[in-house]
Symmetry: C2
């Protein structure tokens, strides 16, 4: 809480509208770091686009030339970052997107309305 | 170019609308990785919100308890990722945001309007 430009309304301090303070940057960096790996990006996109909003780990692992423990490790990092959630049902674990987290990142990366309008950016 | 879901119109394959293929994931991951550090996030936000759209390196360094070479290294990683651009004028280097890159990341993280929202999510 270094209070540099803390005029957000409790939601989404824009990355592009005012300098982040140290606390905000320290909170956000692990989220982006979790996305900074191609296997995790593919896992997240498979989970996010899964039928019914969830995907069984048994359907994720075969898509990669990686061991089950390696996939589990990447899934754990995505879960710890708050990007996905999991639920065990019987033998398998099912994963689903936490849309609030990706929404937040999208908001943070969206230019403020008073800057030159980005073509096609969602508000 | 593994061509799994390559139906984008040359712009922005949504991370959340269809599984990324390996090539897309390999291209995107370094961008997120570049953002996965609190110092780089702060640098990017300082640059993006700079008056006149640019910031002199001489104004960036004093904001951190870090050496000039360390700051330069972080700026280089942001530049290599295509998130910022730089121009030397006289003694100093000036940095500015590459808004197309952050726009692209924001688009990628924005849920498709026609997708069934995961549990409890506002559409």
């Amino acid at each position: 809480m270094l209070g540099q430009d803390d005029d957000s309304d409790g939601c989404c301090p824009g990355l592009l509208s005012a300098p982040l303070d140290e606390a905000q940057a320290a909170e956000l960096a692990p989220l982006f770091k979790a996305l900074g790996d191609p296997v995790r990006l593919r896992l997240l996109s498979m989970i996010a686009s899964g039928q019914g909003g969830e995907v069984c780990v048994c359907d994720l692992t075969p898509a990669f030339d990686l061991s089950q423990p390696t996939i589990s490790h990447h899934l754990k990092l995505l879960r710890q970052a708050g990007l996905i959630d999991s639920e065990r049902r019987g033998t398998w674990v099912y994963y689903r997107l936490v849309p609030e987290t990706t929404d937040r990142l999208a908001d943070i990366l969206t230019r403020p309305a008073d800057s030159p309008a980005p073509a096609g950016a969602a508000s």
